[in-house]
């Protein structure tokens, strides 16, 4: 039989990234539990919190709807629970040893970690959009129109990407479900030691101090500000800095994780 003689060359980084990201998205599509769980949990929080607390919302947030106040928190919950997706995808490949098969190609090792992260960003963004649509159906205020919604979505995605990278690092270094889950456990208490259900001015004592130290407070502040009638640049900048810090933390962690994992791909 005649065989083709096309000579292989190093793959173009973008071609490899595109092919691997498409595969990661196919995996998400074929494993609905990876995607549906975080969305259901966030939708549950939004509906239940709003149902139980909306009556007293007039006292808590006198100048807006409580759904608008809750949405940023729900979006961060979506990002943090869904953000584990990059770690889970990497872990799946490490467990099945398919990661070693991919690492035996000339594709850059960074691309192997970037693809599930990119797929995670797409999934998180889609999840966030679905939460915004649900909130809109429940009476979301959007005084700044598409710009305000875009800011909220952007801050969610930037912080979510940082979290995706942290989860990917946990998978590369720890190589266990427990290691990936631990990242979620770290962020879970942080999402309560902040302005979870009430604004900062209504928190006092140790709770107020904890909220001031928690970067999520500023992230939530920036997002809530974009959904409020009076838009303060300071809150937006603080929110942007907090999101960027989480992203930077993720980038530093994943570069360490890649160095560590490239030492021994097939442990």
């Amino acid at each position: 039989m005649t065989t083709t003689t096309a000579t292989p060359s190093s793959p173009h980084t973008l071609a490899a990234l595109f092919a691997l990201t498409r595969r990661a998205l196919d995996t998400c599509r074929r494993t609905p539990s990876l995607v549906v769980g975080p969305v259901m949990m966030s939708a549950f929080f939004l509906v239940i919190y709003n149902g139980q607390l909306a009556e007293t919302a007039g006292v808590i947030v006198p100048d807006g709807s409580y759904v608008s106040f809750l949405l940023p928190l729900v979006l961060l919950t979506t990002a943090f629970s869904g953000g584990a997706i990059a770690g889970q995808l990497l872990l799946r490949d490490l467990d099945s040893r398919y990661h070693a098969c991919l690492a035996l190609t000339p594709a850059k090792r960074g691309v192997l970690a970037a693809a599930p992260t990119l797929a995670g960003i797409i999934v998180i963004t889609a999840q966030a959009v679905s939460m915004i649509l649900l909130a809109w159906a429940m009476g979301l205020d959007h005084p700044h129109g598409i710009v305000g919604i875009g800011v909220v979505l952007g801050l969610t995605t930037v912080a979510g990407t940082g979290f995706l990278l942290l989860a990917a690092t946990a998978a590369l270094v720890g190589r266990t479900v427990a290691a990936v889950s631990m990242v979620t456990y770290v962020f879970f208490p942080l999402s309560f030691l902040t302005t979870t259900l009430v604004p900062r001015e209504q928190l006092s004592g140790w709770m107020g101090v904890a909220a001031d130290l928690n970067p999520l407070t500023y992230l939530l502040g920036g997002m809530r500000d974009a959904l409020s009638p009076g838009w303060s640049g300071t809150a937006f900048v603080r929110g942007g800095v907090a999101a960027t810090l989480i992203l930077a933390l993720g980038l530093v962690a994943v570069s360490f994780g890649l160095r560590s994992s490239s030492e021994e791909v097939d442990r």
Partner: protein, 308 residues
Amino acid sequence: MTSQPCITAERLTKCYDDTIAVEGIHLEVAEGRIACLLGPNGSGKTTTVGMLTTLRRPTSGHATVCGHDVLTESATVRSLVGVTLQHTGLDELMTGREMLLLQGTLQGLNTTSARRRVEELVDLLDLETHIGARLGTWSGGLRRRMDLAAALVHHPRVLFLDEPTTGLDPASRRALWAEIKRLNIEDGVTVLLTTQYLDEADHLADEVSILANGRLLITATPEDLKESLGERSLTLVLTDAEATSRAADLLREGRAIERSDAQTLRIAVERDEPARCVAELARAGLEITAMTVAEPSLEDVFLQLTNA
């Protein structure tokens, strides 16, 4: 004609904390040859392949594949080699065709070339009826063939096969052996395979390197290895138990004798000794009813070298 060395390793060493997995291995495989790393579990075969294929970083030493350093030119090495690992790594949610196309893309083939190559491999490895199904539904033998197809998608110059037939049924084993031979002879692919099966090494390899406890004990052709052992196994069947005992007494001096049953003796003899033994028994009036002389096997060499 002397072929260029295709795979070289000099003082290649790998340590994990206090454990030395591979120690100072020297290896040279000429282009177009089939070389075999033979050794018991934990002898360092997989670690050696891991270092040569860039999956593991050597603690010390130096190795090249097709003239490229495995540490400093790892991407080039990966584009030249095809590898099947001991434990088949497949994504069970992908179909066979999806996985091969992805491998082709990652190896730098454009979409058209990758599609054409996938169809060739499907034809070559007889995967047609399964290629559209998810890999999670494939049998062990099919997975091995798929693993080989993934390793061949980019026309590698060197093929590393880590225990490629472990867990396969005899028919699948034979089929894989035939394919490895074909790739070597028709396509000129250099092959380095590891195995625990001595018959596999005997059947496939141009040269065999025996490893034990992370060290390379010897490298030679299977024939030279057997020749080096010198001894043959002489089996004699005599008429009755008494004659067998007398024969054992006569031939015992300087030779290892094992009495298999009442009338059968197995004697380790030098190459020229069988005829002398028979003559000696004839002079003593002992009748031999059956006799076989067996050449030493690779197993005999292996057992002697590894003190197993």
